[in-house]
Amino acid sequence: MKRKGKHKSIAQKIYSRKLMLPAAAIYVVIFVIPTFSSFFFSFTRWTLKDWEWIGLDNFITFFQEPSLLIGLKNTILYGAMTCGLKVVIALLLAILLTRGWKIEGYLRTVIFIPTIISTIAIGLMFKSFMHPTNGIINQALDQLGIGSVFWLTDKRLALLSVALVDVWKGLGVATLIYVAGIKGIDRTYTEAAEIDGASGVQRFRYITLPLIRPAMNSVLILSLIGGLRNFDLIWVMTGGGPGFTTDLLTTVIYKQYANGLYGLSTAGNVILFLVVALIAFPVYYYLTKKEEVY
């Protein structure tokens, strides 16, 4: 008993909590405290120096003003679109990238490049490609006789166009997560199935797909959270326009902050927090529960 007690105290001394202090202090002061206080300030009219309690007024304004509410709708739509496309396209790419092709290395390097380039640079690039009159995409479509598409100026299309660029940029990481998952599958499973006469499609459906479930969940959760929190790409490509049709919660937060309506901006932040929490946590819980079944 005595020895055990002594050993514990040595461990406590060696692994002193004091060492956690620098990181913990920065994290708590700059991230945790603002997150908690945002709940309070979302119920106030706030000038940074002074605040006045106004109850639910900010939230009522938010849900009554169509130009603000559209941010909520678009955020969910954008998250769903980017996430769905990434989950499916990256899986297809990953399958192609694990067939032992000679060009595997080339393909991997190429699709990963957009990941490292800044979102602002990518956004500006595609803003020029999607230029309504002389963007390179419309030039190509003209050549094919399809005619111009108003990627970023058509109200019904603009959000989707930005989502497609997002998918293009994010495919690299998503694909490599899948590739790691597929490569981790024990070859004996697929070999056994092959001997039993399972076709390629059957092998994929009944062996690969269930076994890469964890990888798929990672891709899904990651791209969902990334999509819900996106700001830079939409801001540099459309700025929320035309009108307010591509505003996301994040751009609403920025615009209200720029207007000096700090309480309203913070209410937007709280709504974003709730959206991410209400979507991401249940999805995560549901997926990991399903994971255990296999």
Partner: protein, 276 residues
């Protein structure tokens, strides 16, 4: 059809698709950055009649009394300071968290994990910085970048710490090492591979960050590099040759990093996200 021929055809198709989807956009950027203003405005893939890459870069660099050069300097200071602090404080944090593994540290690690999911609250963060008298300063921005990168860095470090047997610590302690010596002389050198990954990936995060400088260090005068290109494109939006020369310029550092640290970047981005 012959299986090998089929395989070859698939590969050729894959290469063609990536050529159009990935190579052409970047080729287009470089090409346009070499053109004069008029030819650049056509936004097509024709070769420039006169190669003006260096003139364009020179013009970009001299715009607004060298705004871009100052921005490069600011981003350099921001990135180097942030990454150094991230590495030091999270290595220490993960060291204690992984080795203690008691209730309080497990609770704290949940709080850290939440940082990967929860969006940061903008105005309250600004309010805290203001309270500390570091709003709209580079110091304030550095602290914010550190805070927002702690989560992913801690997860990488803690995962790697788990692979260092505790018997090593015990041997060192028996030989008379204190905490400081144990960490500096034994643990830190063993953490080298993951330190490289954390440093490289957080360099990319901080250098490419746009949102936080926009909120916490606004203004064209003292911009970081991502803000500078944003302001620049607002001012010279129709001079695509200059905009793309600027994009080229600010992407050179990350492309060089990608070539040199390819393994760390890919590993760090994939592992960091999966474990989260």
């Amino acid at each position: 059809m012959n299986k090998r021929v089929k395989r070859l055809i698939f590969q050729v198709i894959a290469v063609l698709v990536t050529l159009v989807a990935y190579i052409v956009p970047f080729y287009f950027i470089i090409l346009t950055a070499c053109k004069n203003k008029k030819e650049a405005s056509w936004l097509n893939l024709s070769l420039p009649t006169e190669w003006k890459l260096f003139e364009n870069i020179k013009e970009v660099l001299t715009v607004n009394d060298g705004m871009i050069i100052r921005a490069f300097f600011n981003s350099l200071v921001l990135t180097v300071c942030s990454v150094l602090i991230i590495v030091v404080v999270t290595a220490l944090l993960a060291f204690v968290m992984q080795r203690r593994n008691d209730r309080s540290t497990r609770l704290f690690s949940l709080l850290i994990l939440a940082g990967l999911i929860v969006p940061s609250s903008v105005v309250p963060t600004y309010w805290v910085l203001d309270f500390l008298h570091i709003s709209k300063t580079i110091v304030g921005l550095i602290i914010v970048e550190v805070a927002l990168n702690i989560s992913f860095a801690t997860i990488l470090y803690r995962g790697f710490m788990g692979s260092i047997p505790q018997a090593i610590d015990e041997a060192a302690i028996i030989d008379g090492c204190g905490t400081g010596k144990l960490f500096m002389k034994i643990i830190l050198p063993l953490l080298k591979p993951v330190t490289a990954t954390v440093a490289v990936v957080s360099t990319l995060h901080v250098y490419n960050d746009f949102v936080n400088p926009l909120y916490y260090l606004p203004g064209a005068k003292n911009a970081t590099i991502q803000l500078s290109i944003y302001y620049f494109s607002g001012q010279y939006g129709s001079d695509w040759n200059l905009v793309f020369a600027d994009i080229l310029l600010i992407s050179i550092p990350v492309v060089v990093m990608y070539v040199v640290f390819n393994k760390q970047i890919v590993e760090g981005m994939v592992a960091g996200s999966v474990k989260g």
